[in-house]
Amino acid sequence: MTDTDYGHDLLFGTFVTPVNQPATQAVDLAVVSDRAGLDLVTFQDHPYQPRFHDTWTLMSYAASRTSQIHVSGNVLNLPLRQPAVLARSAASLDVLSGGRLELGIGAGGFWDAIAAMGGRRLSPGQAVEALEEAITVIREVWAADRPGPVRVDGKYYRVHGAKRGPKPPHDIGIWVGAYKPRMLRLIGRVADGWLPSLAYLPGGPADLAELNRHIDGAAAGAGRDPAQVRRLLNVGGQFAPTGRAFLDGPAEQWAEDLAGLTLEYGISGFVLATDDPYTIELFAAEVAPATRELVAAERGATAPVGVRPA
């Protein structure tokens, strides 16, 4: 294991566009992802966008139509979702789905559109603070075993005296989509995962090293093991008979490209943006196992796996 491989088991998932016409296309692709044996199906959340489904509704419905796969927002728009209600909704969906919910969440970005929907406009700095408060609220609501009601007297969210619970049946991962140092430090302090998109990294995969460092530093500063933060990555690509570029080539090349991301940058969740069933099947059937093999071989050769998977 190299320095920046955090040793997590690998997850493979899809990033499906939540279009609402045809109405069940996104659900059908979730079902394809589930049957193909992928670990995760995720949907972006833009409540101001009328061509998309409401992501919470879609996630709940898709979870109801699948059996193994985990579902997550990628990522949920916090400013338009009430954190205490979201916490209970998440717990509910985790109960109903038998522990298949993960909570991908973001601070919000398109403030004009958020305000147009009646949401509160925040500055980027405020949005980070609000997200941290929301994560506290969510964790407090889930902590059903702690005594007394929830009391979070935040600047943005005040939850005072709400009952705790329900307790989710599995440890729901709170995964945050982020790129800027302040958000990355927040992730290091309080999140279970980091979920950026490769396409948004101006320097490509090489940027991951620097971004990881922010997270790792903040985690250590908060007394956490950096391996408590799983690193996931939204990727795009295409299958081609011959290798042409990163994630543009045959499945074997994809596996090498992805294994490289695991071994060099500790990425342990690959979320493929696609709405094509055939690509989903190929990703699950050929890329996922080959990547796992490459990573296992390399990890076995360098060091025993020493950290627990988040």
């Binding site: 016409q21 509704t57 009430q82 209600v85 009646g118």
Partner: protein, 755 residues
């Protein structure tokens, strides 16, 4: 009094654990119309109701789902609107929106919600209703702005359009809420146990008055009562007794107080079953006996919907069989059915028959409106065919979309006009069969199979109509006939090329071909020397073996860039070497900037068309012609046309081969000797006509399906004299009143005329 709503039954299930889901499914099995859940987001013993409703929607198929009622103070109204539309779309139109103003303010505040006084809460709910309705009104073009006391929206985009009209019901007790309900809502939800004697009737009165003051018909508001009780052998009180006693208790509530929905509050499966089995049907029967007329079954159109009706359409005279599925301008489905793929429409009514008999009824209805335009629509991809219109009647055959194998040995298949070619291809694929259609799987069967069908398997297998063996159709006089080589043979002749003029085909019988996987190529060429390129294409495409059919698409060259051409070609062979060999001559025509060649089922090629609703706007402007070959003169002229800036889409479809094997007199599609069908589309009708008319020396007739010009000469271009003469004579026989005139109208030959 009774308000005339069909009587419905629902359940009220406690939203906890797995049981809630099981009871919802049981409610569906037992035939309930609705399952409802209370919503208390501050209560950790309960599921989040929205999540639960979404989950239940995924586990059921028929039953409607609603809250009873949603806690609006903890739900953001704009997000709620979109979520409601989503759930309605996902569930296939099964979500109803029941809202409450909120009650437990300590708990709401503890969750981070804002504490409101009761009066404020009613106002906030009223604003929320306006926001929800405003956002769901996806037909409105402008973004929604809302400047309320409690909620502000600063230009939110509207939509999505739900699957069905989502009714808004309110949980209400007090006068202010009841008045709000009368003004704005579609239903009243209240729990019997919380009402004092006489309160229900008093509530109705407040609602009715408020509705009337707001210019509404009180009958628009459904009255819904949550009830609880126990089945016992002996009557012990209200809803405490045997089923007959329950019926006695509930009957006056329907007949005298107008309850339209009873919602049984119980988590006991046996009670739900007993009620469904022994109370609901008996109550329905008792209500029908007690009321002067049986309750209606169709949909109820509100004053707001009726206000959008068009002049001249006898809406109230729509035959009963068609009324339920008919769509008029105020209906939620209108935006889904008004337009075509390429054409905007605004019809007065869309009738959607489900059988041949209903087609005949629809036609009879349309004929009672001789002055209104009538469109016959199958897949809505008409270019020449005006299958939608403004203010008229559309007979939409979308529900007649079956694909059925009649005889495997002879590959005889029956296909409904409303099927799309992608559906047909998908249904035939498992048999190893295909039927050559066109280049786009979204096109409908009805329009294409009555006109010709120039497709990717054409040079090998001929036109779509060449595979037609029989049709069933409804004629202008309302009669239903079969036409084939032996029955009404002259009609069968006319249907194959000019079918739109003779009636409404309600089913087609084809003999389809054995077709395995095919080679499918998309090649992008740099066609800087456009004329030379077109000439080479002409030579290669027309001299290719018959298994190869190629279509070419070009647009105007972009500023500063070379002209490009996109070739779409099919080789009827699953053998990669054959496919490559047949494509080689094409590949040598010019430098390629892109190439994709796959071996795939014909169905996969057709399947590339998305399943989107038609949102066409305006009128397509398209001209069409046949040419025998691509002469140097035509190639030069085409290059000039492409450089004119008038044409944004130019296409050559190769015909010949098997198409030309058929005798020109064998069908009403007579231009068998054509080498290519040419299409040009533009945005300026006059300019396109001027340029196109100037090319006429190159043309030899036209394929009517791509022509939008309505000058009378075009009919003669589509049909050579002998064909046209026979068509006019037959038109005089089968449609003397010229009922069918929406597509290349052939004037009927009347007795006095020379043919």
């Amino acid at each position: 009094m009774n308000y005339g709503h069909p009587l419905e039954f629902g359940t009220f299930v406690t939203p906890t654990g797995e049981d809630a889901v099981a009871l919802a499914r049981r409610s569906e099995e037992l035939g309930y119309d609705l399952v409802t859940f209370q919503d208390h987001p501050y209560q950790p013993a309960f599921h989040d109701t929205w999540t639960l409703m979404s989950w239940v929607a995924g586990q059921t198929e028929r039953i409607h789902i609603a809250a009873n009622v949603l806690n609006v103070p903890l739900r953001q109204p704009a997000v709620l609107a979109r979520a409601a539309a989503s759930l309605d779309l996902l569930s296939g139109g099964r979500f109803d929106l029941a809202l409450g103003a909120g009650a437990f303010w300590d708990a709401i505040e503890a969750m981070g919600g804002r504490r409101l006084e009761p009066g404020e809460a009613v106002d906030a709910l009223s604003e929320a209703i306006d926001i929800i309705r405003g956002l769901l009104d996806a037909g409105e073009p402008d973004p929604l702005r809302f400047d309320g006391e409690h909620h502000k929206l600063d230009g939110a985009e509207r939509g999505p359009l739900p699957r069905h009209h989502i009714p808004i019901w309110l949980g209400a007790h007090k006068r202010r809420m009841l008045r709000l309900l009368g003004r704005k809502a579609d239903g009243w939800m209240v729990t019997a146990g919380y009402l004092k004697p006489g309160e229900f009737r008093a509530g109705n009165k407040i609602i009715d008055e408020a509705a009337t003051e707001a210019g509404r018909d009180p009958a628009e508001i459904r009255r819904m009562l949550n009830i609880g009780g126990t089945f016992t052998d002996q009557r012990q009180g209200f809803l405490q007794g045997p089923p007959e006693a329950w019926v006695d208790d509930l009957l006056p509530l329907v007949v005298e107080d107008g309850v339209g929905t009873f919602i049984l509050m119980s988590d006991d499966a046996a009670t739900l079953e007993r009620f469904a089995r022994d109370v609901a049907p008996a109550l329905r029967a008792a209500v029908d006996r007690a009321l002067p007329a049986p309750l209606p079954t169709g949909s109820f159109r509100s004053a707001a919907v009726r206000a959008k009706r068009r002049d001249g359409v006898d809406y109230d005279g729509v035959p009963r069989s068609l009324a339920e599925l008919a769509v008029e301008p105020g209906d939620i489905d209108f935006s889904r059915v008004r337009s075509n793929y390429l054409r905007g429409g605004n019809p007065g009514i869309v009738l959607r028959p489900r059988s041949t008999a209903e087609v005949a009824e629809a036609l009879a209805f349309a004929r009672r409106h001789p002055d209104l335009p009538m469109g016959v629509r199958s897949g809505g991809h008409g270019v020449s065919g005006r299958s939608t219109n403004d203010g008229g009647i559309v007979i939409d055959l979308g529900f007649l979309d079956g694909v059925e194998v009649l005889d495997e040995a002879t590959r005889r298949v029956r296909i409904g006009p409303g099927a799309r070619w992608k559906q047909v291809a998908a249904a035939l694929e498992p048999y190893g069969w295909a039927l050559s259609s066109g280049d786009y799987g979204g096109v409908g069967v009805g329009g294409l199979a009555t006109a010709g069908g120039i497709g990717f398997l054409g040079r090998k297998h001929g036109l779509t109509i060449d595979h037609l063996r029989a049709v069933e159709m409804v004629l202008a006089d309302g009669s239903t006939v079969r036409a084939s080589g032996t029955e009404n043979a002259d009609l069968f002749w006319a249907v194959r090329g000019a079918g739109a003029n003779f009636g409404i085909v309600t089913s087609f019988e084809f003999e389809v071909d054995e077709v395995g996987e095919v080679g499918w190529a998309q090649l992008g060429f740099v066609a800087s020397d456009t004329s030379g390129f077109l000439r080479r294409f002409g030579e290669v495409a027309s001299s290719a073996p018959r298994d190869t059919t190629a279509f070419l698409v070009m647009g105007p060259p972009r500023r500063g860039q070379p002209a490009v051409a996109q070739l779409y070609g099919m080789v009827d062979s699953g053998d990669p070497d054959t496919v490559i060999a047949q494509l080689q001559p094409f590949a040598r025509m010019a430098p390629m900037f892109q190439q994709q060649v796959v071996i795939a089922p014909y169905a996969a090629v057709m399947g590339m068309a998305p399943d989107a609703e038609h949102q066409g706007r305006g009128e397509p402007i398209s001209r069409s012609a046949f040419i025998r070959e691509i002469t140097p003169e035509f190639a030069d002229a085409a290059e000039r046309l492409l450089h004119s800036g008038v044409v944004f889409f130019f296409q050559l479809r190769t015909v010949g081969g098997a198409v030309a094997d058929v005798d020109p007199d064998a069908t009403a599609y007579a231009h068998r000797d054509a080498g290519f069908s040419v299409v040009a589309m533009g945005v300026d009708r006059e300019r396109l006509d001027r340029l196109w008319d100037g090319l006429s020396e190159h043309f030899d007739g036209l394929y009517l399906s791509f022509e939008t010009d309505q000058r009378p000469e075009r009919v003669a271009d589509a049909f050579p004299p002998r064909t046209l003469g026979r068509l006019r004579e037959l038109k005089g026989r089968y449609d003397p009143d010229n009922v069918f005139r929406d597509n290349f109208n052939i004037r009927p030959l009347t007795g006095g005329e020379e043919s």
